[in-house]
Amino acid sequence: MKVRIKFSKEGPVKFVGHLDTMRYFQKAIRRANLPVAFSGGFSPHMIMSFAAPLGVGTESLGEYFDLELTETVPTSEITRRLDAVMVEGVRVISTRQVEDGKAGKAMSLVAAADYYVEFRPGKEPEISWKDKINDFLAQPEIKVMKKTKRSEKEIDIRPFIYKMELQGDKIFMMLASASANYTKPELVTDTFFAWLGAELPDFAYTIKRLEVYADKGTEDNHKFVTLESLGEEVE
């Protein structure tokens, strides 16, 4: 049985990095006594795969990993047992059974993600920016310099911004997050304010990931669905 588990990560645990979060869940799965499948050999490891790595310092309400179990367990029971062994700040939200095989692997499915960008107290620039988001998006191209290990090149991030709008005091963004096409909320935010001519101080804002999506549509006609909705609850 292959299951997809959705969890949130908020508060101090946002400083636990991606690899350590994986280790954390490996131990949690043992504490929850789930019938997890292992690879063979002298150092067997759990057959699990995380959807999208989350940077240190970023909170999230929608993280995913897939896990292979050796027997069928009701999905609600998996959620309950795993959630019971979490630390403060980490909650197991849901468990869904998903199809087996490489094609269904959480990581390769990731196409887009939602984010909130919120200014820390006192760090919001004193310019009017809230009504400029639409003008920013109305540009045919948004060119940024992208540094790679070898070179620096100019890329257009406009196609990667699926949505960007003001929600209360926060900026909501839906951004491309596929392995080939992606951009980061930090880059979009910094580019937006640079376009406005405002220089943001260091640590001006916090980022929270809200949800991760797969794309069931085409390049021209996206149909984004949450990773969770690709699976089913099992009794």
């Binding site: 101090p12 131990k27 292992f38 630390v87």
Partner: protein, 623 residues
């Protein structure tokens, strides 16, 4: 949700921010308003090292079982955060509540190794607590030290209000009760220190006076006040089946600790009596835990942590009477569930090889022997009962079983050592390499044999038969390593032998700190003020700073390191009764010089003095 002591901005700047956030699985949260005593338990090194310390975890669990105590953890901030905390005047905090250490009732510091002493000062300094105990105010935490280095607390006596000599399980309850009683009675800090000195095992340095002779040795060491005991007696739990405070749920770090596994303590003490080994003397008598308790404990800790590995902890696992039963249980019960079983300090014999072939990948693992000395003569001097025959037989069996890597540990600079002893290291390595080619037919060999020889330099430690021995100069140590290196080069199979040795400068400083007296505190303080920190880390250890500190405090390091002491001399730690008697240690020192071996505790009692604790190996078969 808890609020962190450090801002996001700081945490985003430092390496491994998760070291500082607390909130790990099994960490203990309490309401500070519902406890009487807040205890900050500190291991003065980086989080990953400190979180691997078993003693600290035992006390953390034990203290928190008391409803009136909340024990939290404190570690040395790594150098990046250390710098920021100094610049921004951020006080050091405990991980659980994230509140400043200065607000606590106690700051307990585990002293695992001498090279942590400047980090002790770092912790006090960052906590905004006076470095010298005499400068502390009524409201400052009581600073208490414990652990192996507390068996000679004198070099750091000025920095501590008190020390706990022995195993923490025994009198901490009495200490806490005395603290509460003193508070309730409106007593002062000084009142509490005196009350604490009445508790067996508690040493309050400010209540003792030391005078010195012209030659620099101690003339007298006496209580400064009536009613203060002359001797401080080591405390230990006699019955480790009944009174062992087993950890049910160890804290599970978010980041990978050095020991990222369940540690199962199977026994305390060691029957062997190696004359260089402090642990083998101060933890006497050997006491074994009940195997059924251990099985239950292993199951419970694996369940509560989710660790994927369990390791046995003891000074010499092979001497544990029910090792076979325990190991077979662990393999049967857990190995199928992808739990690794790690068995350090196993003597290589048929049983060990059989077990190891089950739990580890023979092709990738290496076997470890610790002959400690290169010749049988010197092994007799140090009372290391491992013979060349046993080593070669063990290695031969291992080679036949598929291993082809061997690690060998030795010490250089042991008492009575000659050039022949040093060269013996190379010869033993050569014989092991030869054994491989003799025992394993050509067609079955999987590549070359690899013999890794490693030497450290010997540091005489208090409460060992070698506590009177002299050390060598830095250049002498280097010379000794060269002798070994050249002799290895001269062996037929030299290409199969790799040699590495530790730098001698750390060794000499360790020797100074291990056998120092109260006057050494000024050197440590000076070195700290000049920037010494994390001396246990080669990347930050700077011997140059220490050399300046010696010069500026007019301290002659040679007096502490090079000098062989007379058995008549009053040693700085003589006021401690560590269980083994001075008479026994002197006898062992003489036997060493005569190259005579002393049988282990199970073969024959040598009357070391530990029997008066009324338990352990001394009474095996007598009940």
């Amino acid at each position: 949700m808890r609020t962190l002591a450090l801002s996001d901005e700081i945490l985003m700047k430092v390496d491994k921010a998760a070291r500082y956030i607390g909130g790990e699985v099994n960490s203990v949260m309490k309401d500070k308003n519902n406890v009487d005593i807040r205890f900050a338990m500190c291991f003065p090194d980086v989080y990953e090292i400190g979180m691997s310390n078993l003693g600290m975890m035992i006390l953390y669990n034990m203290f928190n079982e008391r409803e009136d105590v909340w024990c939290e953890r404190v570690f040395s901030p790594w150098m990046d955060l250390d710098k920021i905390m100094r610049e921004e005047h951020v006080p050091l905090f405990a991980l659980e509540s994230q509140e400043p250490v200065k607000e606590f009732d106690f700051l307990g510091i585990t002293l695992g190794y001498e090279m942590c002493y400047t980090n002790v000062l770092q912790v006090l300094d960052l906590s905004h607590v006076s470095l010298l105990a005499k400068d502390r105010k009524e409201d400052d935490p009581i600073v208490i030290g414990g652990g192996a280095c507390a068996y000679n607390p004198e070099p750091i006596a000025d920095f501590f209000d008190m020390f706990y000599i022995g195993e923490g399980e025994t009198v901490y309850d009495a200490l806490f009760d005395a603290y509460k009683a003193n508070k309730a009675a409106g007593g002062s800090r000084a009142d509490f220190l005196f009350a604490a000195s009445q508790i067996p095992g508690i040493y309050v340095p400010s209540l003792y006076n030391v005078t010195y002779k012209k030659d620099g040795t101690i003339a007298s060491f006496t209580p400064a006040k009536e009613g203060v005991p002359e001797k401080v007696c080591k405390q230990l739990i006699t019955d480790v089946t009944k009174d062992y405070r087993a950890i049910k749920a160890p804290v599970v770090p978010f980041i990978k600790a050095t020991q990222d596994r369940v540690t199962l303590e199977i026994q305390r003490g060691c029957i062997r009596g190696c004359r260089f080994c402090q642990a083998g003397m101060i933890y006497r008598p050997t006491r074994e835990r009940n195997v059924e308790n251990l099985k239950a404990s292993a199951r419970e800790m694996l369940q509560n942590t989710g660790h994927e590995e369990i390791s046995l902890s003891s000074l010499s696992s092979s001497d544990y009477s029910e090792l076979k039963e325990l190991v077979n249980f662990l393999i049967e019960e857990f190995h199928g569930n992808a739990v690794n079983i790690s068995l350090p300090s196993l003597r290589i014999d048929a049983f060990a090889l059989d077990v190891m072939s089950k739990v580890q990948d023979v092709k990738k693992s290496s076997l470890t022997f610790a002959p400690e000395a290169g010749s049988q003569r010197l092994r007799n001097v140090i009372n290391k009962g491992l013979t060349e025959e046993v080593i070669l037989h063990g290695a031969g069996e291992a080679f036949k079983g598929g291993w082809n890597q061997v690690k060998l540990y030795f010490m250089l600079g042991l008492p009575t050592e000659t050039e022949e002893d040093m060269k013996g290291i190379a010869h033993l390595a050569q014989k092991i390499a030869e054994t491989y080619y003799e025992e394993v037919p050509k067609e079955q060999r999987k590549g070359k044999v690899q013999v890794n020889v490693s030497t450290s330099f010997f540091v005489p430690k208090p409460f060992t038969p070698f506590q009177w021995a002299g050390m060598y100069r830095e250049e002498d140590f280097v010379e000794k390593a060269k002798v070994v290196k050249n002799e290895i080069r001269a062996q037929v199979n030299q290409r199969s032998i790799r040699y590495s040795w530790h730098e001698p400068d750390v060794t000499i400083l360790e020797g100074f700190l291990a056998r120092g007296d109260r006057r050494c505190a000024q050197v440590i303080l000076k070195a700290y003020e000049k920037g010494a920190i994390y001396d246990a880390w080669s990347e930050s250890f700077d011997y140059h700073i220490w050399k300046e500190a010696f010069a500026e405090t007019n301290t002659d390091i040679d007096f502490y390191t090079l000098r062989e002491r007379s058995t008549e001399e009053i040693l700085p730690w003589d006021f401690i009764d560590a269980g083994v008697t001075k008479k026994f240690l002197i006898h062992e020192w003489e036997q060493a010089k005569k190259e005579t071996v002393t049988p282990n505790c199970r073969q024959k009692c040598s009357g070391c003095g530990a029997m008066r604790y009324g338990g352990g190996v001394c009474y095996e078969g007598k009940n």
